[in-house]
Amino acid sequence: MILRHSSLEGLLSTLSTGARVYVPAKADGVTKFVLYSSSVRPDFSITNTTMPPKDLLFPQTQHMYRYGTDAEGVPYVEPVHDADDVIVFGMRPCDVRSIECMDDVFLTKGFVDVSYQAKRERLLMVAMACTAPAPTCFCNSMGLCPTAAPLADILLRPAGATDASGDTAYLVEAQSEKGQAALAQWESYKATDTSDADFEPVSAAVSCSLKVSMVGVKDKLEAMFDHPIWEQLSKKCITCGTCTFVCPTCHCFDISQENRLSEGTRFRCWDSCMFTAYTEMAGGHNPRASKSARVRQRFMHKLCFFEQRYGKTLCVGCGRCVEKCPVALDITCLIDQIGAADVAY
């Protein structure tokens, strides 16, 4: 179906009657996926929101269960269910791929994370193909295509040039049964004066200008655990957690609790391998006490360990860390350096 940009607002308000709809927008100066309402201006020209959509499935703070003793002194444990029907509208292909990585972690290999699963099952992903990758985007090099998002339930591709009225058109395709079913609600917003055949959607020709070669990177890294590159590279890192918090695939968390009198809550929060306390043991021992060990871990996990376990890199090339690292410690430069390293593999 063809959808005109001018019908999006109507569509979004219809969709928000049955689900929580999140759209890319700027809120208090930060671009992120914002809950749609009539006062929110979605901005589909944002190539990558500063904050990825991962918090919709894996919130920075997620309450898991409450516990305590009731008036009779009987202990109880009460799970917290907070999953709603959620539609993320306008996800970029890299962000869709990041959900694939999170699915691997939270749903496969015999481990099912119920908090994640509950949200994941109620998520509908509406992707928007990219026409103008940002200078920091390098998804092509990570095996993605800026105009395809296979895991998305529905894919919108800006189609051809804007029409005579100056209105952009999107070619809309369902890519899953869930997406197909969801499209019923979209019918009344589709352009009726034209057909799919009249439009040429953006093609695979859209490509990132930033390119790196991943050839041999994983295999080389397997032999580079003790390579001097980590010590050198980590000197400038200030071990803030910025890169991991803005990353759509970083999924490490820490479980904690807060108690008040006779009741308490267990919750999990994003944690970061860049923080000293991340690997600190109860007895005080820290197997990753040095900065270089922590920097190594982050990149090894992204470019080697995840590939070993799940067959894909844990970097989708969104470029957020490249843009936000305060010291310009750039993963693409590291990939180049690994490529250039004289290491047999």
Binding site: K236, C240, G241
Partner: protein
């Protein structure tokens, strides 16, 4: 600064770095080198004299370098490139007993304000900077900028009009002070709400040198782990109070913050109050601890005792 000035300073810097390393005066030189993107630079750590030609200096050296001296000093004497902000950071750490003056060799550089590589406009932190050139150094690699002490008359090539005068740096604070309490609260709540507690602000700060930050004292549990308005408020307010009278106004925290929190408004509120209540000096101008709150003096008034 003009291209020829930048080139001349880069040459002088490389030559001095090479000499210091070759003669064994220092173990490492901390400066900047080119990054991947146009105009981008990134901190560089040079310990081989042959690598000194990687160093660059110009309008886009956005990182303040002082704090790196702490991590590098174990290897020997550290040469650090310093402008006003970096040199005040060094003084700060010396005054805070984190560093000895002997442990660093300071390569003084003139500065007319740094620009954002993406937009080409003067960085916020540089617009409100009061001390462009190094306030302390072992060698000065170029003539002082015309700016001298008064930021408003900086090197004309740096976009004069973007710099503000010493007093104008408090304009944002004055504006906030004048707000009705509810409005002020809404302003800060909106800011604290978007904080992701990545802690880039503390990590980039030359005053944040506690071996163990209150945030990481998990057993004491000062700072709860949840990300919510209450915890974020607690973090941000504690950070600024804990820095207290030591902030050198380098603005590196605000630059590093990925969420764009108005951290300098908080810091400058402290600076402004310290000035009006204690007639405090600007921090980090000397190696002495001249802090209004952090130093005890027999002559201090004790009216409240």
């Amino acid at each position: 600064m003009s291209l020829s000035t930048a080139e001349a300073l880069t040459d002088a810097l490389r030559e001095e770095a090479r000499r210091l390393l070759a003669e064994g005066t220092v173990a490492v030189v901390v400066g900047w080198e080119a990054g991947r993107f146009p105009n981008q630079t990134t901190p560089a750590f040079i310990s081989d004299p042959e690598q000194a030609q990687r160093l660059v200096y110009g309008d886009y050296c956005v990182n303040t370098l002082a704090k790196y001296a702490l991590g590098e000093k174990a290897a020997g004497k550290v040469a650090v490139c310093v402008r006003g902000c970096d040199s005040r950071g060094i003084n700060r750490m010396i005054a805070d007993n984190q560093l000895l003056r002997d442990e660093v060799y300071l390569l003084g550089l003139p500065c007319s304000g740094m620009k954002d590589p993406a937009t080409g406009s003067l960085l916020m932190k540089c617009r409100t900077c009061t001390e462009h050139d190094a306030v302390t150094y072992d060698v000065l690699l170029g003539p002082a900028t015309a700016a001298g002490h008064d930021g408003a008359s900086a090197d004309s090539s740096a976009g004069d009009s973007e710099h503000v005068s010493d007093e104008q740096r408090f304009t944002a604070v004055l504006g906030i002070e004048e707000m009705a309490p509810e409005k002020r609260r809404a302003l800060f709540d909106a800011a604290f709400n978007k904080c992701i507690r990545c802690y880039a602000c503390r990590k980039s700060c030359p005053c944040c040198t506690c071996r163990e930050c209150f945030v990481d004292q998990l057993r004491a549990g000062w700072q709860g782990k949840q990300n919510n308005l209450a915890e974020n408020r607690f973090y941000n307010i504690t950070r600024v109070f804990h820095i207290g009278d030591r902030c050198i106004e380098c603005g590196e925290c605000e630059r590093a913050c990925p969420m764009g929190l108005p951290l300098m408004a908080l810091n400058r509120k402290m600076v402004k109050d310290l000035k009006s209540l204690f007639n405090a000096d600007d921090a980090g101008m000397t190696e002495e601890n001249s802090a209004a709150l952090g130093r005890y003096d027999l002559g201090d008034l004790e009216e409240f005792m």
